[in-house]
Symmetry: C2
C-alpha cells in the first residue's frame, strides 16, 4: 500500500505527522539515534496515524492535538516491531535489514525502549486522563501478547481461539485504540469513539489474517522477506491451523513442522508451505478475514456519514484485498 494513494486527501497532514516522527527520533547525540532513524527510513504504511487523523474528523479536527496521538501510536508500533524482530530472530523486514541484524539484539532492545519512551513523552502533552489509561492498557496487552507468542512458537496443538487472541493483542488492539484515541482527542462522543474502536478492531483482525496469508502466498518481492518466514520462526498462523484439521494433511504437516522446529528454522520450508497453500486453509482464512471486514463496515454504518467515513470504508476494502 503506498501511503499517498489511499491517504491522498490527508497528504498534507500525513506529511506533518511524518516530519514530527523524524523530529521526535532525532537525537542530539551523534550515532545514538542511528538505529531508530534506520527504522523510520525503512518506512511503513503509517496506518495508525492515518486512522487517528480520519477518526479525528468525527470530532473537532485539530492537527496539532491529533499529532500528539498519531505520532506516539506509530512510535509504539515501531518499537514493538524492533522488539518483535529480536523475538522472531528476523533478518529482514520490509526488504531492509532489521535493527537486530544490522546492529545486534542489545541495540534493538534499547532502540525499542528509547522509541517507547519518546512516544510516552509526546503523549504526556495531552491532559485527558482517559487517553493515558487506554494507551497504557493497550501496551500491557501488547506485551502479554508478545510473551504468548514466545510460548506458542511451534505449538501446533493450539486452538483457533488462542491464535485469534494472540493477533488481537499483537495487531488489532493498537489499531482499535488508534481509532478510539483519534476520536477522543478530537472531543468526539464516547459512543462515536466506541464504534471507531470496533471498526479498528475488526480491520486490525482482517489485516493480520491477510498478513499471515501473504506470508504463505505472497512472493518475496511483494512481502519484503522470503515466503514461509512465519512457519520458519515457529509462528503457527490460522491457515496452518486450518490445514492441520484436514485428515490427509495432518500427519505429514505435523512432521514437517517438527522437522523445521528441530532444525531451529534453518531448513527448507517449501514442503510445509506447499501443503498449506494446497489446503482449504487458505480459502477458510480468507473467509474469516472477510467476516472481520464485514463487521468493520457494519461499525462504520453506525457512524455519521462524513467524508472520513468513506475513506475508512476504502481502507477496510483495501485491507481485505491487499497483496503487500
Amino acid at each position: 500500500m503506498k501511503r499517498m494513494e489511499i491517504f491522498g486527501t490527508l497528504k498534507k497532514d500525513m506529511d506533518a505527522v511524518e516530519r514530527s516522527l523524524y523530529a521526535c527520533i532525532e537525537v542530539e547525540n551523534e550515532a545514538l539515534g542511528e538505529a531508530a532513524m534506520h527504522l523510520l527510513k525503512a518506512g511503513g504504511k503509517r496506518l495508525r496515524p492515518a486512522f487517528v487523523l480520519l477518526s479525528g474528523k468525527f470530532g473537532t479536527y485539530e492537527l496539532d492535538r491529533l499529532k500528539l496521538v498519531a505520532v506516539p501510536l506509530e512510535l509504539i508500533h515501531m518499537a514493538s516491531l524492533v522488539h518483535d524482530d529480536v523475538i522472531d530472530n528476523a533478518q529482514t523486514r520490509r526488504g531492509q535489514l532489521t535493527v537486530k541484524a544490522k546492529w545486534d539484539n542489545r541495540i534493538a532492545m534499547y532502540t525499542g525502549d528509547y522509541i517507547y519512551a519518546k512516544a510516552l513523552e509526546m503523549v504526556a502533552g495531552l491532559e485527558d486522563p482517559r487517553i493515558h489509561r487506554i494507551l497504557a492498557k493497550a501496551m500491557v496487552e501488547m506485551s502479554i501478547g508478545e510473551m504468548e507468542q514466545i510460548r506458542d512458537f511451534f505449538n501446533s496443538g493450539q486452538s483457533i481461539r488462542r491464535y485469534l487472541l494472540r493477533i488481537r493483542r499483537k495487531t488489532a488492539l493498537l489499531i482499535a485504540v488508534s481509532c478510539q484515541l483519534g476520536a477522543l482527542a478530537a472531543g468526539a462522543s464516547t459512543e462515536v469513539a466506541r464504534e471507531l474502536y470496533n471498526y479498528g478492531y475488526n480491520v486490525g483482525m482482517a489485516f493480520q489474517i491477510r498478513d499471515d496469508l501473504l506470508d504463505l502466498c505472497g512472493t518475496e518481492k511483494q512481502i519484503g522477506k522470503p515466503p514461509g518466514s512465519d512457519i520458519r520462526q515457529g509462528n503457527i498462523t490460522i491457515p496452518v491451523l486450518y490445514a492441520l484439521q484436514e485428515d490427509r494433511l495432518r500427519d505429514p504437516l505435523l512432521g514437517e513442522i517438527g522437522r523445521i522446529h528441530e532444525a531451529n528454522g534453518r531448513t527448507d520450508v517449501n514442503a510445509a508451505v506447499a501443503m498449506i497453500t494446497g489446503s482449504e486453509g487458505i480459502a477458510r482464512a480468507e473467509e474469516l478475514a472477510d467476516r472481520y471486514t464485514q463487521k468493520a463496515l457494519q461499525a462504520l454504518d453506525r457512524l455519521p456519514d462524513i467524508r472520513a467515513r468513506r475513506h475508512l470504508r476504502d481502507i477496510a476494502h483495501f485491507v481485505s484485498r491487499r497483496t503487500y
Copy 2:
C-alpha cells in the same frame, strides 16, 4: 541495607507497597508472569518507594495516592534492571540468577516490556499531567543512558564528565524523580518538590559511586556477584578513570583492560582489580561520593524540619557508608 531497619517507621506503608507490587505483577495467565515474579522475589532495597513515601510527608500524605507513584517507580526500576542484565550479559544479581540467565534474552526483553507497561497502567490512575511529563522525560533519559552505556563499554578514554552524565541517567534521575513525584502527588509546593528532587539527585549520584566502589572493594557475599563484574563487562567506572590518571598505573591498567576486552570478559580480572584498589582512585571516588552526600544534606536543610526530613538524612548517611 535491610529494608525494615531504615524504613522502620514506614513499615506498614512499605508493606502495602510490597503487596501492591505483587498484585500488579500477578498475571492471570499461568507461567507468563513467572520471570517477573522471580524478579520481584529476588527483592531489593525498595529505595524508590521509600523516597516517594517520605517525600509525600512534605504534603498531604495519602497512601493510596502515593502508591500510584511508588509502585510504578519501583516497577520502572525493576524493568530497567532486567534490560540492563541483557546489555551487561549478567548472570547473577543480588545473589540470584538473572532473568536472562534463568530463561533467555528474549524472555528478559519481554518481561521488562511487560513490567514497564504495568507501571504506566498504574500511573495512568493519576490525573496530574505534570507527573506523566516528568516520568516520561525520565524514561527517555534512562533509555539514552543505557544506549550510552553500550557505546562506552571498554572505552577507557572517556572523560569523568561522561561517566557522571551516564550515572546521572542510569541511577540519579529516577531517584530524584521519586522524591519529586512523591512531593507533587501529595500536593506539596513546586519549591519543596524541587528541593526534594535536588536531594534525590545527589543521593542517587552518591549511591551509584558507592555501588561502583563496592563492585571493586566488596566481597562476593556483600554484593551478591563476583567483585570486578563491572570491568569484566567493560563498564568503566570512576575509580578506574581516576586510577588511569596515575602515571605508574596507566599503561599496565590499559593493558589489562585491553586483555579483558579481547577475551570478552572471559578471563581473570584480579590483576586489574588489584591495580585499581591499590590506587588513589578509591579514596578519590569516596571523596566525590561524600561531596554529593553533602549536597543532598544541604538540600534537606532548605526543607521544613519534619520527621521525614530526619529519615531522609539518615538514608543519605546510610548510602554514604553502605557496604552492601
